[in-house]
Amino acid sequence: MTELKRKSNKQLIILLFASAVGMFGFGFALVPLYDVLCDALGINGKTQSTASTYQPVTIDKNRTITVEFLSQVQSDMPWTFTPQVNTMQVHPGELIRTHFVASNLSANYLVGQAIPSVSPGQGAAYFNKTECFCFNQQALKANAQADLPLIFFVDPELPDSISTLTLSYTLFNITDKGYVENVAE
């Protein structure tokens, strides 16, 4: 009886400790799971981080979508960063070219990273970028200025309920961060 009791104690303890360790792992598993879920359900307003290819599709001239551009610069980033135009009317399927203007106001070489987000979130999956500065990091020498190109089209499958898409970029200063790649100046 005593032997038995001690043995079942031990099994239970091992099981419970293993569950605790497992849940610690689960906490980290939530990280990839989060991305997968956001991707699969098309939520969170994340746009794809690689270029999509443009297949010429029928342009839906009957429908007009308002596309708005927003930009924000984190407070520790001494740059200006603004869209060339703030808003435009596009037809679904049309390939559009525009750009953002960035200028480094400081006397230092700085590396930025623009992070896009589309609102409403469900529209993100229909906002296709064939070329975007945000796929790479942005580096500017002291007091330099650059036009950052963006080419995109809106998928004609965009749900009818959406008539405005807002593309917002937040520019982060990543000069001193570990994840700066070697970018050509």
């Binding site: 419970l16 939520i43 307003g45 992070i115 961060k177």
Partner: protein
């Protein structure tokens, strides 16, 4: 044949000669593996933390007594709100429940001790270190944690003080302590019940703690994971929560609240068990709906994993997610309502007397329900857009935690003090403590609902002048509530030092094995398991 006393890992490893009283001196407390000693340590520790966190609340209320900045720097104010929250959650409420579990579970199930006495000693003794580290960080250059007890990224990563590593380390230790405590509770309940103590005969305090322990084992490791991510984001250039590096700050909130919502139930389920013991005792009737209580507790625990995003309605979730979390949250009100119904039905036509434990228990039922109602209001997504991050939320969670969890802990203390000390507490002082507390707690928290509805944000050291009068009332309630707790300290000390001798069963209607042993409970109880009929 007695089986458990022969197990060398249980109850006998702290002394050579058996079946005597407690060893003497300081080392008794350091080395103890006795569940009653460890319970006492937890309870005192929790009370000290309650007063420490309470002192911080007094700083907060003093600063908010008038509009404008008068007493403390905004950054220090932020440290006070943060550390107040952390201390009350992890230092006061949770250790108090663990202390009660240590004292009561073995006595309630007829076991000689907890199943893992040495681990029990460790679970307790790492806690003072965790809180010393946390508190010492307040005195460091740059200050202690100032990002709220919820430590949202990027506040805790990009903008946090240098001492953040200490905060992370302290939370890790608290988590390890809770997990060890929970494992101990589960093993004790599963393997050490006296013969005849079948599952559906377990006292509800034991049931609720068993379910709480599973919640702890499930979510404390997730908390450990998320603080670790904060640590590496801040110090080791990972970017779990940094959008610039491909991470997402909103993900922090998802992981945190996946822990956080079950955590709030960790802080209330044992209360349900306590109230389910006290209400029948003073109504002199058996508990109404025992089985439904067990199932309600289990369903609350399961549902608590499906509602976390009700803390995040304003982060821009898609509508279907908002609806899902709104309805799941409202669903929790159903099993909670079952419980409230059962307590009221237990009192119905009972021959009730209102000794201090019962006073606190009745106040619990009423005031906790008010907190549940404001919770339901917060669960309505479009309404939450107005209420979120205002004093309305502060009012909600203080109703469920202070006049809920803390009141139940007070009720438990009064109810079992005669068993612990062998003396009756002073009923007069107990009633003073109750009435002072119950009046001041409402003066303190009820007006906060109106402040919140009128738009006063939480966690800000200053406010617009139209909030001045109400804040003054709230602060006065706060000081009164703080002072009232000193009465409790006096009651406890007085009761330990002497008083009317308590009989084995001081409450006429009390049920349970703990009342079959002497008062004060002998150092070793149930060394031969009782027979439960």
């Amino acid at each position: 044949m007695s089986t458990m006393t022969q197990d060398p890992s249980i109850a006998q490893n702290d002394h050579d000669d058996h079946h005597h009283g407690a060893p003497k001196g300081l080392m008794r407390w350091v080395l103890t593996t006795n569940h009653k000693d460890i319970g006492t340590l937890y309870l005192w520790f929790s009370f000290i933390m309650f007063l420490t966190g309470g002192a911080m609340a007094m700083v907060i209320r003093a600063e908010l007594f008038q509009p404008g900045l008068q007493l403390v720097e905004p950054n220090f104010f932020n440290q006070m709100t943060t550390v107040h929250g952390l201390i009350m959650v992890f230092g006061a409420v949770m250790p108090a429940f663990t202390g009660l579990a240590n004292w009561l579970i073995p006595m309630m199930i007829g076991a000689p001790d907890m199943a893992l006495p040495r681990m029990n000693n460790w679970s307790f003794w790492i806690l003072p270190f965790a809180f010393s580290i946390l508190l010492s960080s307040l005195f460091m250059e740059g200050g202690g944690p100032n990002f709220g007890w919820t430590f949202y990224a990027p506040l805790s990563t990009t903008y946090s003080p240098d001492s953040t590593a200490l905060f992370v380390f302290a939370v890790h230790i608290m988590g390890i302590s809770s997990i060890m405590g929970a494992i101990n509770v589960v093993v004790t309940i599963v393997n050490m019940r006296a013969p005849g103590m079948t599952w559906m005969k377990l006292p509800l305090f034991v049931w609720t703690w068993l379910i709480t322990a599973f919640l702890l084992i499930a979510v404390m490791p997730v908390l450990a994971g998320v603080v670790t991510m904060v640590l590496t984001d801040k110090y080791f250039a990972t970017s779990f929560f940094d959008a610039a590096g491909g991470g997402d700050p909103v993900m922090f909130q998802h992981i945190f609240w996946f822990f956080g919502h079950p955590e709030v139930y960790i802080m209330i389920l044992p209360s349900f068990g306590i109230i389910s013991a006290i209400v029948p005792a003073f109504s002199r009737k058996p508990l109404f709906g025992y089985a439904s209580m067990v199932y309600a507790t289990a369903s609350i625990a399961i549902l608590s994993f499906l509602v976390w995003a009700h803390h995040m309605f304003t982060t821009g979730m898609p509508v279907f997610a908002e609806l899902f979390f709104m309805y799941c949250t409202m669903l929790i009100a159903v099993p909670t309502g079952v419980k409230v119904f059962n307590w009221v039905a237990t009192m119905w036509r009972g021959s009730i007397t209102f000794e201090t434990p019962m006073l606190f228990a009745v106040a619990f039922i009423i005031l906790f329900t008010i907190g549940g109602f404001s919770g339901l209001m917060l669960a309505i997504t479009p309404a939450d857009f107005q209420y979120h991050d205002t004093y309305f939320v502060v009012a909600h969670f203080h109703y469920v935690l202070v006049s809920g969890a803390i009141f139940s802990i007070m009720a438990a203390a009064y109810y079992w003090l005669p068993k612990w000390t062998g003396h009756m507490y002073s009923e007069t002082l107990g009633r003073w403590h109750f009435w002072c507390s119950v009046i001041s707690v409402n003066v303190l928290f009820f007006p906060m609902h109106f402040l919140g509805l009128a738009g006063m944000p939480r966690r800000i050291p200053d406010y617009a002048i139209q909030f001045a009068d109400v804040n003054q009332i709230v602060s006065i309630g706060g000081f009164a509530f703080g002072l009232s707790q000193l009465i409790f300290l006096a009651v406890v000390i007085k009761c330990i030092r002497g008083g009317e001798k308590a009989p084995d069963k001081p409450w006429e209607g009390a049920e349970g094995l703990e009342w079959t042993i002497a008062s004060p409970a002998p150092y070793h109880s149930f060394t031969t398991p009782p027979e439960v009929k």
